[in-house]
Amino acid sequence: MNTHPLDNDKLDHWVSKDKFDPHVAEALTPEQERIYMASQWRMMWIRFKRHKFAVWSGALLAVIYFSVLISEMIAPYNMHSRNTDHIYAPPQTVRIFHDGELRAPFTYAIKYTLNMDNLKREYTEDPTSVTPVRFFCLGDKYHYWGLVPMRFHLICPPKGGTLFLLGTDRLGRDMFSRIVMGTRISLTVGLIGITISFFLGMLIGGLAGYYGGWVDNITQRAIEVIRSFPELPLWMALSAALPVTWSPILIYFGITIILGLLDWTGLARAVRSKLLSVREEDFVSAARLMGAKPGRIIWRHMMPSFMSHLIASATLSVPAMILGETALSFLGLGLRPPITSWGVLLAEAQNINVVALYPWLMLPVVPVIIVILAFNFLGDGLRDAADPYK
């Protein structure tokens, strides 16, 4: 049996002849320096940018939320104005070619006939009447945010023509304008609701995590009880209990509060477990020894160390709020007209016989899915970025 060559031969061992100076730091390339010297938030940003879907979703949501500020101007019609000549009109196409020549954007006028077989309202385009769409124009009156009376629109229906981008509903109201206005309500429900639940979650989770003991025990049990309720039936019961005498705006706040009141449990759990793990860290003991009060320790020292996680998980629970409101309004237990949200619009699409004839009534489904998807991607990206040192 022959032995392995390595067993006998000594391996050569290379030693640098240069003098060793322990004070010379290893030179960093600018690339490395940029990452090593970055602050925590900067690291997160670098990490976040790598998640392309999340970046695009964030940008999309920013645009949509900005549009909420000027919903009335984006909508070509006032969302309540009824066009009695155009009930259940189908979506119109904006064209730029007429008889093969290029024109400014225009629509054809539409004519209404009643199909006597199934009593369906049918509209036909009249390709001789060209009605150019107007931009930056004066149109339907509205109250900007319900306060300032204005007439300015970014886009208006042509004079003597119509501009129903997504068709009209049973009262001849423009669906596109209604969806745009519904966006404002649906998206703010999510924001207000998450603010309430964020506040409650931090407060209750913070108390439980910091004090521990019986405070912790009681909150844990309470959270368990709330979580063992199926969410939607409980929401339904609570919003059905809102007094019928309340004005729509009060109902709106009532619904957001109900959504927020039941959603804090997940956040409270996250806060509690993070606090429990941070509580034993040196910097917390140091703060305590220097005489800081509990409130200051929690808010100034402990919370910032896991704030990013909380923001990420809050982002992930916004869709649940938006969906909750949509579901409640869809069932007729949530918001009520004249307040218009996506759910209120979808409630009109409940009757399948109507939808079968006029399918554009289902279009509010599209913004719901887009916004929910965008929030999910954004939340995913934020969650990955929340711990950039991993």
Partner: protein, 332 residues
């Protein structure tokens, strides 16, 4: 094991009590008691009010007593199977409800089974073929499923079925069986109709489950024991099934606690859209007409379903995982 079981059962009791208190408070929230609204309704319809019956009901449900006594009467009645009186239907709740509880249970249970049956193979495939073409497309479909709210899915499905096949996919049985006593034919008809609501309700839960199973399995597959097994020449199929899959299955069952409330919530709204003869539409109607006893017992039943489901999942988890069984249950 017995000790753990007893411990879990004991925890369930205060939870259920707390739930019943919350439900009772919600029942009481609308102003006035049920009888005042009942009497109002009768009078507005110009019908005579039967004073003897009102007095009997008032006595029976203790409506003139303080709220905590009313609560005890309500709770005691429920324990004996008396769920109160539905004022809208003018019948005891237990008679109004009838088959609905059973059908609700059937839909939820089948949905959970569906979720498992579908997410298990897909999750395993996605994890073992990470970053493959199949993995990407399945993930994409999963994301869409996660983002589409189930009642909108039901709406779209109704529309498409109407558009392309000219039929309605709503309902839970053929028309001829509605209101009939149970028979083999009716049972088969229910099974035939069941798949639509099950798929609709189960989609988002399935998508979530696939993502979790995939993540868990990927974690396990990177462990050293897998490398060791592979180095020792273990067949990859056997290696996968024997160790990592078993570990990855743990959250699969533990997750019922999250899945079940979601499924039951989903079932309520989807059954309204698809007009299924389950608890959903009736709960909605009861809430709208403020028929609070009826709504309360539905709420109680749905919560009970959740609590018992979580209990069963905990037991299963304990059987599967000795660490939980021996640790006395402080698992989640």
């Amino acid at each position: 094991m017995l000790k753990y079981l007893a411990h879990r059962l004991l925890i369930m009791i205060p939870t259920l009590l707390a739930i019943s208190i919350i439900v009772f408070v919600i029942i009481q929230l609308p102003p006035g008691d049920y009888l005042t609204s009942y009497i109002n309704e009768l009078q507005s319809q110009g019908e005579a009010v039967d004073q003897a019956k009102i007095a009997f009901l008032r006595e029976q449900y203790g409506l003139d007593k303080p709220w905590w006594q009313q609560y005890l009467v309500w709770l005691g009645g429920m324990l004996q199977g008396d769920f109160g009186f539905s004022f809208e239907h003018n019948q005891p709740v237990s008679e109004v409800v009838g088959d609905r509880l059973w059908l609700s249970f059937l839909v939820s249970f089948t949905t959970i089974l569906f979720t498992w049956a579908v997410s298990f193979p897909i999750g395993v495939y996605s994890a073992t073929h990470q970053y493959s073409w199949g993995d990407y497309s399945l993930s994409f479909v999963g994301f869409l499923g996660l983002a589409t709210p189930n009642f909108l899915l039901a709406l779209v499905l109704l529309y498409l079925a109407n558009r392309w096949f000219g039929t309605s996919v709503g309902g839970l049985m053929d028309d001829q069986f509605i209101g009939q006593p149970w028979s083999w034919g009716k049972f088969l008809s229910v099974l035939e109709h069941l798949w639509v609501p099950v798929v609709v309700i189960g989609t988002s839960g399935t998508a979530g489950m696939i993502r979790r199973l995939r993540a868990n399995l990927l974690d396990e597959l990177q462990r050293q024991y897998v490398t060791t097994g592979r180095a020792k020449g273990m067949k990859s199929g056997k290696l996968l099934v024997k160790y990592p899959l078993r570990m990855a299955l743990n959250p699969f069952i533990a997750d019922i606690g999250n899945l079940l409330p979601q499924v039951i919530s989903g079932a309520v709204i989807v059954s309204v859209v698809l007009s299924l003869p389950t608890t959903g539409p009736m709960l909605l109607r009861a809430l709208q007409s403020q028929d609070m006893y009826l709504a309360g017992s539905f709420l109680m039943f749905l919560s009970l379903l959740t609590v018992v489901g979580v209990f069963i999942s905990d037991i299963l988890l304990a059987i599967l995982d000795p660490r939980i069984r021996l640790g006395g249950g402080a698992s989640r």
